[in-house]
Amino acid sequence: MKHKKRKNILVYMALIIMAFIMVLPFIWTILTAFKTQSEALQIPPQILPSSWSLRNFKAVMEVLPFGKFFVNTFLMILFRVLGSVFFSALAGYAFARLEFPGKNALFAIILLQMMVPGQIFILPQYMIVSKLAWLNSIKALVLPGIVSTFGTFLMRQFFMGLPRDLEEAAVLDGCSIWKTFWKIMLPLTKPGLVSVGIFTALFAWKDLLWPLIVNMSIDKMTLSTGLVNLMGQYSVDYPQLMAGSLIAILPMLILFLFFQKQFVEGVATSGTKG
């Protein structure tokens, strides 16, 4: 028993040290958000702010239309997630479990997209959006992310990890391909779906360059790009930037908090395997 306890303590210690390293930059962000510009620029750096006033948060919210940023970001994320999760699940299943000519070649084409740096798509995609007259709109923000090769690949892996007997049983029961997919296989990959959703949301949220290029007015900006407006060409108001980025994180954090409980603990694996 002692052996087990000691192991547990080691494990906890390791987790806590790692957690500290993960959180360190955030602690710094939070501390800086409460300082004044002079305090933030001080060398040697001052650790604690002299006062915990919310002035930076207020200032940032006045200068930037955070409400619009949130709405734009939310819509962009919503549509990208809906699109990519659904289409990735469909395609992932097909590549994992259906047989058809050209399967491997087509999968390779889809993988290709992941293998090149995203920057090469900027100009061509801009041309498309421009020709469609979608510049400066939510549609422009959503377009590049409506399908996801990353998601397709991930879902394929997930589907391939499921046992075959379920499908065979479904076929014997006379289920159509669609029914097999929708009613039986899909629900089993909830963790995969949620992962794809979370990551699509993340990529969308972090995307800096694309929103800047396709959208012109500040009220069509997203959170990440809106934040960049706090950085002047030569000077940065550090405390405001930190305050802004903290505000910007909130929705993602909340979403994650609820979903992680969801997919990690809520998935039933009993009885369907082995």
């Binding site: 047989e99 290709l112 090469i120 090769t149 075959r164 934040l227 980025s245 994650f256 997919f263």
Partner: protein, 308 residues
């Protein structure tokens, strides 16, 4: 030894039933495929096309054949950038993937405060890119940064994270691992959900230790997800750019030790308006990544367990 006769896959023969099946399949992949063809393939094809031309500024492309590639293979900058991303990948991929795997396993087991830890480890993933670079620059400051200050208390003299060529890539790698840890951990956690608990219990009864359980049960069963994590981590490591762009100036003494291929591509394409050469650089990276991914795909048969 029964020799396996090559049987034609019944699903691929031309029957009415099969065609109907194929129809479904094509329908399923249609949205994604069309999306990729329209949004992405054009960009890739265009890059390849440009790489055989001289495309400067807004001028029309001029065909120059393999000139860009000839230049590429004798360009010291390119070799340096290749070396840099190799260093970065060698540091971040093994450490990053192993750590994420351990974390996922640990946070899947009976540990108090799982939810809390998962949140903490996920935080870096949601952080604003602009803020992250700035904060890390401060942490890395040689004289005043928190990291060196902490090392001081252990009587270790902290290195020049940002100014010295030997440490610079390590600094970038640390930020890289930091930002991807929670990300991969979530993926692996999701994969772990597919491992039935009964298997673990059976192993315990058989007297298996934690390590045994891990290697013989966990790893094989999450190998599809693990495969995905490894492939994507390698690809994104080879494409590293944002962190370097935000933390180092081109005139920094450490710059030549951190410039990545994508940075080089960005410089030529967007800063120097030399799309032809920039495209050649990106094609080179593309070929490398394709090769590495191809090798991995071939190797997956050896260690990845799919339920076929």
């Amino acid at each position: 030894m029964i020799r396996k006769k090559k049987v034609k896959n019944p699903r691929l023969t031309l029957t009415k039933r099969n065609i109907k099946r194929w129809g479904y399949a094509y329908l399923f992949i249609a949205p994604t495929l069309i999306g990729v063809l329209v949004l992405n393939l054009w960009g890739i094809v265009q890059s390849i096309y440009y790489s055989f031309h001289e495309v400067k500024g807004f001028n029309d492309p001029e065909f120059i054949g393999l000139e860009n590639y000839a230049r590429l293979f004798s360009d010291g900058e390119v070799f340096r950038a290749l070396k840099n991303i190799l260093v970065y990948a060698v540091i971040t991929v093994p450490i990053g993937v192993t750590l994420s795997l351990l974390l996922a396993a640990l946070l899947n087991a009976k540990i108090k405060g799982k939810g809390f830890f998962r949140c903490i480890y996920f935080l870096p993933v949601v952080s604003a890119p602009a803020a992250v670079a700035l904060v890390w620059k401060w942490l890395y400051n040689k004289d005043f940064g928190l990291i060196n200050q902490i090392l001081e208390t252990f009587h270790i003299s902290g290195p020049d994270w940002l100014g010295s060529g030997s440490m610079a890539m390590v600094s970038v790698a640390i930020v890289g691992i930091w930002s991807m840890l929670g990300y991969n951990m979530i993926l692996l956690l999701a994969g772990l959900q597919e491992v039935p608990k009964e298997l673990y219990e059976a192993a315990e009864i058989d007297g298996g230790g934690a390590v045994q359980k891990f290697l013989k049960i966990t790893v094989p069963l999450i190998s599809p997800t693990l495969f995905f994590v490894i492939v994507t981590t390698i690809i994104s490591a080879l494409q590293v750019f944002d962190t370097i762009f935000m933390m180092f100036k081109t005139s920094s003494p450490a710059f030549s030790a951190v410039e990545s291929i994508v940075y080089l591509f960005y410089r030529y394409t967007f800063t120097n308006y030399n799309k032809g050469y920039g495209s050649a650089i990106v094609v080179l990276l593309f070929v490398i990544i394709m090769a590495i991914t191809g090798v991995q795909l071939k190797l997956q048969k050896k260690w990845v367990h799919y339920n076929d």
